[in-house]
């Protein structure tokens, strides 16, 4: 309860968040939430605690411990109460370490119960908009091009690894095993997959300004590490093209702090040139 309420408060306090009224219905909106989160244990195959959540009438029948819904009163409804417990609580649902319901899913169930849970008629649902970052896709789905991309990566002696198992989190271009094998040509050849690459780890590679000029088309690139390469201020005109770029590491390159002032849109930038040390940290 504490966790979710603080989460929702945080969401609502941020300026990007507002409440939006929509209409919802049991069959269109509640059933998909239950199917996604609940019916693997409370459905056709298994009926833990004698409970099924796969149809309206079965929900009203409740579990072997009694009813789980008190029409019009979410707080006194067992279903709603358990969804809101601390995930470490023994009674928390979904049980067994499965992920908790999303705040808007819990809110949906709450408002359905408050609306005296109609089966067929619609009810008003005020959907708390989640911060955009949660839904944001870093890159297009990597799966359709994955096979070809991995074949090319092997040929080029670099690695393309996923940022995560979420296919829209993008790929990381990784060169640490053998940075000297990565040259400007490597980056040129990665063009077919440039949209998928969100991080490029290119420190200590052979790349030059020419290589960075190929990177200008990597429109989803968020993190670029070109530390300890021979890149110069000439690369700046390419770097400013990278609209998604958030972090840039140019430590130990020939770039100068004054030239990098043009890249003021970044969250973080590191510049570390010998012998002078300068750290620029700009916030959006």
């Amino acid at each position: 309860m504490k966790f979710w309420s603080s989460f929702i408060i945080t969401c609502c306090l941020s300026s990007s968040c507002f409440l939006k009224a929509e209409t919802a219905s049991f069959s269109h909106d509640i059933i998909p939430v239950l199917e996604k989160n609940c019916t693997s244990c409370h459905g056709v195959k298994k009926q833990k605690a004698g409970l099924r959540l796969d149809s309206y009438h079965l929900i009203l029948e409740g579990s072997e411990n009694g009813p789980i819904i008190k029409a019009g009163n979410a707080q006194d409804s067992e279903l709603y109460r358990r969804l809101n417990l601390n995930p470490n609580d023994e009674e928390f649902m979904p049980a067994g370490g499965k992920p908790p319901l999303k705040p808007y899913e819990i809110e949906l169930i709450k408002q359905w119960i408050i609306a005296k849970n109609p089966e067929t008629s619609t009810f008003t649902f005020s959907k708390p908009n989640l911060p955009a970052v949660i839904q944001e896709k870093a890159a297009p789905d990597y799966r359709p091009k994955l096979r070809e991309a991995l074949v090319l990566a092997e040929k080029l002696n670099i690695k393309l690894v996923p940022r995560s198992l979420v296919p829209t989190d993008g790929l990381i271009l990784r060169t640490a095993s053998n940075p000297k094998r990565c040259t400007d040509e490597t980056l040129e050849q990665l063009a077919p997959y440039q949209d998928l690459i969100v991080e490029a780890e290119l420190s200590r590679t052979q790349i030059t300004d020419k290589g960075v000029s190929y990177l200008r088309h990597f429109k989803n690139l968020q993190v670029l590490d070109i530390a300890f390469t021979n890149v110069t201020n000439q690369a700046l005109e390419s770097l400013v093209q990278l609209k998604a770029l958030k972090k840039l590491n140019v430590s130990g390159t020939h770039m100068t702090a004054s030239a990098l002032k043009h890249l003021s849109g970044l969250d973080h930038m590191w510049v570390f040139n010998e012998p002078a040390v300068s750290v620029i940290k700009a916030h959006k």
Partner: protein, 515 residues
């Protein structure tokens, strides 16, 4: 009793956990392909390297999943990948073995000054069982910290005068004052911190990360451990490789110990009179024999052995490059100080940890021992803090200015706390403190951790936690979260359980300390 999903008439043994029949049960497949499948399947090994992708793709069509189907399933293609986008790519864990006192370091208790030599109220102790080292004491006299505290940085956190250098980066630290553990003695407590369990045999944190994430740099080990020379020797605990062992995970996920001295990794050098070519020939021969053995009996440990021979061979090149610090600029030595030039010192190890992080080593654990101060605490504290303060600050600063702190998690701490009451004779300028598992302080910094932030509170005697307790399991769950893992899903099947770092008891990700 469950049934095979392929054929409902086939009952599966319950003690096999109801696995599907494996490929070896399908006699129509060519034996060579079955073997290849098992090799690839074992320990999520397949596709760890690109060449295997092709082998697997070919195989996929035979076992009923077409290549496109297979590549639609990221978990099948990438056996080593985080569940969600991580904040941390690597970690450096500065392990202060022996348990530094929280009173003189991070848990400021100003009211204790007025209670010098007064008896600890029984209500605070609450009947807690003490160690044999102090349970016989007639009195439990309260002793305040000899070290002074002051507010530092924009965050204004209270920092001890024991850490004048580290205080300069106060605003980068996230201090947790409410850790607790069940273990009251060093070995089980250190094991709990490093492996999540006080019984030996479990994989350590670094091994879990190596298992879950794989290497960034194939030329170096994924998990490295270093022990440091001690400036003082008091109640020094033994460190053994069970603290950095991979337990039931494949041995390739154990840490490689980087030593000071002429041979950073033991047995890596070619013996006198043996050329590199000859060595290569010998390794090829041994690998051939191992492969033959594998074909006969199919034990996956044999493949591990082959890969470890290869790793050792690659390290013959990568380790000398790593340990040759002649490429470090003068500013490095200005930062870390002259001690960093002496291999094996804590300062040298901190610098090495930065070099490892830079080269993509996932987890580096540096041990510094001799924090176990049952007596003569003020003097020993001055020595230990004096020895480690500058190096710790230097590492933080170095990571920061090279742009590494942003995705490197730094962890500092021991295995438990110490008592508010003095052990042994209490003098105005001298005292000791016994073990205390009920609360202790640590700090983390970098990758995804809230900077300039203090979390958790203890009572006026730093005896009991009064707000936001953090169990070691919670800390581990939080570390895994920073690396992109749901701690309940990073598992390995062993002894009938889906084993995990956080074990079977409840563990909570401390979201409050995350950015």
């Amino acid at each position: 009793m469950s049934h095979s999903p392929l054929d409902p008439n086939i009952a599966l043994c319950s003690d096999h956990g109801g696995e599907h029949p494996n490929i070896a049960d399908l006699p129509e497949l060519p034996l060579s392909l079955q073997k290849q499948y098992l090799e690839l399947e074992t320990r999520r090994h397949f596709l760890a390297r690109g060449s295997k992708a092709l082998a697997w793709a070919g195989l996929a069509s035979i076992i009923g999943r077409t290549a496109p189907e297979l590549f639609a399933d990221p978990e099948a293609v990438f056996p080593k990948a985080p569940h969600f986008a991580p904040k941390a790519k690597r970690a450096i864990y500065l392990f202060m073995a022996g348990a530094p006192s929280q009173f003189e370091t991070f848990d400021y208790k100003p009211n204790l000054v007025n209670q010098f030599n007064q008896d600890l109220p029984e209500s605070v102790r609450g009947g807690q069982v003490l160690t044999g080292m102090t349970s016989g004491q007639a009195r439990f006299p309260v002793v305040p910290s000899f070290a002074k505290f002051s507010r530092q940085g924009k965050s204004g956190m209270w920092m001890s005068e024991m850490f004048p250098e580290l205080s300069k980066v106060t605003d980068d630290l996230c201090i947790i004052k409410s850790l607790y553990t069940e273990a009251i003695n060093h070995e089980p407590a250190i094991l709990t911190m490093t492996t999540g369990n006080m019984f030996p045999g479990k994989p350590s944190v670094g091994s879990w990360l190596a298992y879950g994430l794989g290497a960034i740099n194939d030329e170096l080990p994924t998990f490295v451990v270093m022990t440091s020379k001690m400036p003082a020797r008091q109640n020094v605990q033994a460190l053994s490789n069970r603290l950095w062992s991979s337990g039931f995970l494949s041995p390739e996920y154990s840490a490689v110990q980087l030593r000071s001295g002429a041979e950073p990794v033991l047995y890596l050098k070619d013996p006198k009179g043996v050329t590199s070519d000859l060595r290569r020939t010998v390794i090829n021969g041994v690998n051939d024999l191992n492969r033959q053995l594998y074909e006969k009996i199919g034990d996956p440990e044999i493949n591990t052995r082959i890969s470890q021979y290869e790793m050792a061979f690659r390290m013959q090149t990568s380790v000398p490059e790593l340990t040759d610090m002649s490429d470090e600029p003068a500013s490095t030595w200005d930062l870390y100080g002259p001690e960093a030039r002496e291999p094996g010192t804590f300062a040298y190890n901190c610098l090495m940890a930065r070099r490892l992080a830079e080269r993509g080593v996932r987890f580096t654990q540096v041990f510094l021992r001799s924090w176990d101060m049952h007596s003569n605490l003020p003097n020993n504290m001055r020595t230990m803090c004096g020895n480690s303060d500058r190096a710790t600050y230097a590492l933080m600063t170095d990571l920061k200015r090279r742009g590494l702190l942003d995705d490197t998690l730094v962890i500092w701490g021991g295995e438990f706390g110490r008592t508010v009451y003095s052990q042994g004779t209490l003098k105005t300028d001298n005292y000791g403190r016994d073990h205390h598992p009920r609360c202790f302080s640590m700090w983390m910094a970098g990758a995804g951790v809230k900077p300039g932030f203090s979390f958790g509170e203890t009572d006026d005697f730093s005896y009991n936690i009064v707000k936001d307790p953090v169990h070691v399991r919670d800390l581990h769950a939080t570390i895994l979260k920073l690396f992109g893992f749901d701690h309940t899903k990073l598992t390995y099947k062993f002894q009938g359980l889906e084993q995990r770092l956080t074990g079977v008891l409840p563990a909570r990700v401390i979201n409050e300390i995350l950015v």
